[in-house]
């Protein structure tokens, strides 16, 4: 949701059946982890994604994938000689 546009806590909470304080708690944790960023706009606080941080999490598994990808690329290259 917040990937497409910045949203207020209320707008985010209205998309869930969960109680508003629970959603606020989740937003607070995500903000502490820097996955979300807050932006004050008048009286409202808007939340938007921190793409840099999201990428760090996605990258966490990437070296593991890369290790297997390298091995399998090698396997493929070697076995093509047997065709």
């Amino acid at each position: 949701m917040v990937a497409s546009q910045a949203m207020t806590a209320g707008a985010i909470a209205s998309n869930f059946d969960t109680a508003r304080p629970t959603v606020s708690k989740h937003l607070q944790i995500l903000t502490e982890c820097e996955l979300l960023e807050q932006e004050q706009n008048g009286r409202e606080i808007y939340y938007h994604l921190n793409p840099q941080k999201i990428k760090e999490i996605a990258d966490f598994i990437e070296p593991f994938r890369q290790m297997w990808d390298d091995r399998f690329n090698k396997l493929e290259a070697i076995m093509k000689k047997y065709k």
């Binding site: 990258d59 966490f60 598994i61 990437e62 070296p63 593991f64 994938r65 890369q66 290790m67 297997w68 990808d69 091995r71 399998f72 690329n73 090698k74 396997l75 493929e76 070697i78 076995m79 093509k80 047997y82 065709k83």
Partner: protein
């Protein structure tokens, strides 16, 4: 571009799945897991033993340029169905990591293409996450060492 090797590691689970499609006939993909000389080439390790049969066992070993053994792993093969399936255990020797269970399934897609489905089960969620992070941590260590070397040269 779509990635050829995919990792599926769901949150909070002690397993992961690696899938890969190959531009190889099924028989050649399977052969790459059975012939010791070929395994050595693509795994980048020495194959001390590889008995591709039910109740067979295997052992791999890797040494550094000075001849020190830096990696040794072994396991037992529980199921061996040619061109279909290998189920085996995998143990890294002299490490705190527990034995893992691996189910390798080989599938024919077309006459010239095939798919590997590798399902790995770990002793715990924490252990799986540690194994997932290992290459990431090694990457950081290597970067750190390179930085340290560069700084040492400046001294």
């Amino acid at each position: 571009m779509e990635q050829k090797t995919k990792i599926n590691a769901e949150d909070g689970k002690q397993e992961l799945v690696i899938t890969r499609e190959f531009d190889l006939p099924l028989e050649l993909l399977f052969k790459a897991y059975v012939v010791p000389e070929i395994v050595e080439q693509w795994m980048g390790t020495k194959v001390l033993k590889l008995e591709s049969k039910k109740h067979g066992s295997y052992q791999f070993e890797t040494s550094d340029a000075q001849g020190n053994v830096v990696f040794r792993a072994n396991g037992v093969i529980h199921e061996f169905n040619p061109n279909q399936k290998i189920s085996r255990t995998f143990e890294m020797e002299n490490t705190p990591f527990d034995i893992q269970l691996e189910f390798l399934e080989f599938e024919k897609l077309t006459d010239d293409t095939s798919k590997l489905h590798m399902h790995i089960v770990y002793k715990s969620v924490a252990l799986r996450d540690k194994m997932l992070a290992l290459p990431f941590a090694q990457g950081i260590n290597m970067a750190h060492n390179r930085l340290q070397n560069s700084l040492d040269k400046l001294k």
